[in-house]
Symmetry: C2
Subunit: 189 residues, 2 copies
DNA sequence: ATCAAACTGTGTACAGTGTACGCATTGCCC
DNA sequence: GGGCAATGCGTACACTGTACACAGTTTGAT
């Protein structure tokens, strides 16, 4: 059954990736963990990079699902803040996924449609949250995209600096920094 | 003269890195470009990672030098803004160096003293600029480190999103975004 | 001046990597 | 049954990092 094999290979790749990082995702290790020959993997993925991209898509879906759970919050501002928290929590809970999705220098030529779509979805989600707040008069300004970008950059920057150890702080301290920096930014917008 | 050989090897590594990216920095290619045998490189660098780290240190020095040139601006706020511009300009002019220094998931065990020092230097430089502005009453708040972190995160986030192609904008548009996001953040601090 | 030790560079060799190619097996449609 | 496409496998090759043993050179002590 081809479909199952493909899934087993992808699962194996995901396991290795989440557990031991990108370097551990070798075609041989993946195939062996999936219980198939090395070359069987090439029947389902043209090359290693494509396999990693598939892992990445999966991560994106998990990520977007986590973000969309923030929509259950009561008001527009609560939804925006919950989205930020969901973003941070996902990044801290799934550092390797976050790294693969957002920290890696993406090869433009591999920017296939499904991935570009997922990238854009992250941004549009945030733009919608900001626009919601603006419509409700909670945030001021007339360009939600602009403000959304600032917020994304701020949160992404904090997360990136933390994950790459540029910030000498333990997790609780970092979370505190995050909260005060983000609320300060929002309070003034 | 060993010293010259080491420099030739490092230069070759830098050339390959800046020109063709990290993947092109193979021990064989570096050694060949430097005109020595492959294993000669191992006489001067314990392994490939150490060679890359040396390239990274060099990048950091270039970076800190570029930043410190911002100190010639007139007032505290001008110096802070010039620092931000220097940061952005360096990142756009040397994307691979920036990527190696600030985007890469740093292996904690390789965080040797010289690198940690250089990392901290970036942050302290920014803290000093912010403290200067606070002392002059141009920026408000009592924790320069906190504000400096926010600013760094914002700028790093914008640069990172741009360099990893998460932002669908050409360079002029991005620079405009940068200016308005940063001045907005500063205007309110 | 001599000799030993340290230093520097080389060639060879090996294990691990991605992956091209061709063959075997299977399931499916006519 | 007779093709036939899809799937999986084994082998082979080029390229990687780097361990190891060796050769030439420099240095320092006697």
């Amino acid at each position: 059954m081809s479909h199952l094999t493909k899934d087993r290979i992808l699962d194996a790749a995901r396991d290795l990736f989440v557990e031991h990082g990108e370097g551990a995702v070798t075609m041989r290790a993946v195939a062996s963990l999936a219980g198939v020959s090395t070359m069987a993997a090439y029947r389902h993925f043209p090359n290693r990079e494509a396999l990693l991209l598939a892992v990445m898509e999966h991560g994106h879906d998990k990520f977007l699902a986590a973000m969309s759970r923030a929509l259950s919050a009561a008001g527009p501002l609560e939804r925006l803040i919950a989205s930020g928290d969901a973003y941070l929590n996902f990044a801290l809970a799934n550092p390797r996924d976050y790294e693969l999705m957002f920290l890696r220098p993406a090869q433009v030529d591999l920017m296939c449609a499904p991935l570009a779509w997922r990238d854009a979805a992250t941004f549009r989600f945030l733009v919608d949250r900001v626009a919601e707040c603006m419509a409700a008069g909670i945030l001021h300004g007339e360009d939600p995209e602009m403000l959304a970008f600032s917020i994304w950059a701020l949160v992404h920057g904090m997360v990136a600096l933390y994950l790459t150890h540029k910030l000498a702080a333990d997790e609780p301290t970092f979370r505190a920094l995050y909260v005060s920096a983000l609320t300060a930014a929002l309070a003034r917008a």
